[in-house]
Subunit: 266 residues, 2 copies
Amino acid sequence: MITLDLIGIGTGNPDHLTFEAAARLAGADLVLLPRKGTAKADLADLRREICARVLAGRATPVAEFDMPQRDAARPDYLAGVDAWHAAIADAWATAIAENLPGGSGRVALLVWGDPSLYDSSLRIAERLRARGLALSVRVVPGITSLQMLAAAHAIPLNRLGAPFLVTTGRRLRESGWPPGVDSVAVMLDGGCAFASLPPEGLTLYWSAYLGLPHEVSIAGPLAEAGARVQQLRADLRARHGWIMDIYLLRRDAGGNDEVSHGPATG
Amino acid sequence: MITLDLIGIGTGNPDHLTFEAAARLAGADLVLLPRKGTAKADLADLRREICARVLAGRATPVAEFDMPQRDAARPDYLAGVDAWHAAIADAWATAIAENLPGGSGRVALLVWGDPSLYDSSLRIAERLRARGLALSVRVVPGITSLQMLAAAHAIPLNRLGAPFLVTTGRRLRESGWPPGVDSVAVMLDGGCAFASLPPEGLTLYWSAYLGLPHEVSIAGPLAEAGARVQQLRADLRARHGWIMDIYLLRRDAGGNDEVSHGPATG
């Protein structure tokens, strides 16, 4: 029997770890640390730093393995994701079989952000169970980039008593402004999907590299801030070799529920 | 000059605190600890426990003050909230004036969950600034009940690549199922707003007292699980004198993206 702890580690800043996450990591028999390719090598370094801090003085084995890449060229997005998840499940199974002493015990897998939010660790664990692996799954929540975004700009995600939507860049680009909401958080945007919207009456709150030393934020009316973000994003991506960003779009209400404290221009 | 740290403390379980939150608390010149009335006295006890653990060995003053109550009988909801926020701002100003040594320094305010999510601390801080108080506000994210809900049921909040909406019980009751989404998280529901929906094709994931020893969860088709939740919720509220709960509703897709690992029947 294997217990798999999916541990949310937040944005990678070790200070964003919870005490519970640190305790679960320290109590693991094996820690799995996925590598995401050379461009994001500094992210793998952050995970190693978290492990080094939390596992100090312990002999816990830390097994690194290469994450399969999704074939972004496949025309059918969902079929491409399905094949990718199958490959990740293979990689997990191999890493566990090769590294877990005795084949049973507690395995900890570090998950960026929180396992509940645009993360497929739970789906991949389900695949392993479907293959017959005796697996019990537990989730340890972590701080998400969504919360870090709101903190960086010192804004609430929702207007007073109002709903908010969390969606992806792909959806925003395909479907435009979602019905029935004034606040939309956008994750997993490989480009600048906000540029596909008519900018009038929208405010953009954008951040990249949240929780890292080179964290940067821009806020303002979309018509003006959007262009700045597009330029800066291209520059940063070229400089660092990768970028992870997130943003909130708010439709102006003309009301008095605007809150802005943030040192949010970077 | 006053620096106000709004520190997300999660659901009240001290293990859900991040290292950053603990460090900010430990570095404060004054900790503000709002009391929410006798019915929720055990919640104030949890905050005291967090302070005792983090501030051990320090002389940091911890100022408790009574939170004004919102007049729920007022017919105009937003006007009632406005008056309530003004009263809270008064309470903060008084507690700071009476307890901050020298009238300047770092004040830490403990916020349930995360300051970005259905919390008005940022709006109240804005009121103090508008009154002329020299206030610099910083936000420290904390684990939210939304994340604890997903962890308790071991489910993602979103379907694969799909959006999700976060809304309130009031909105769900007034407006029915929101357009354009299959996943809806409901917070701040004083009753059981899900009971106002036609239950066909909906699955309910419900939890109460998340992070506390008497945490409880129920999941299942809304038609069946909804009735169980209504009964249990009434029983628990009578037993404990208060209840805080949250739930996710998912519209069945007939697809293969259902994930369920959880020991989620309580």
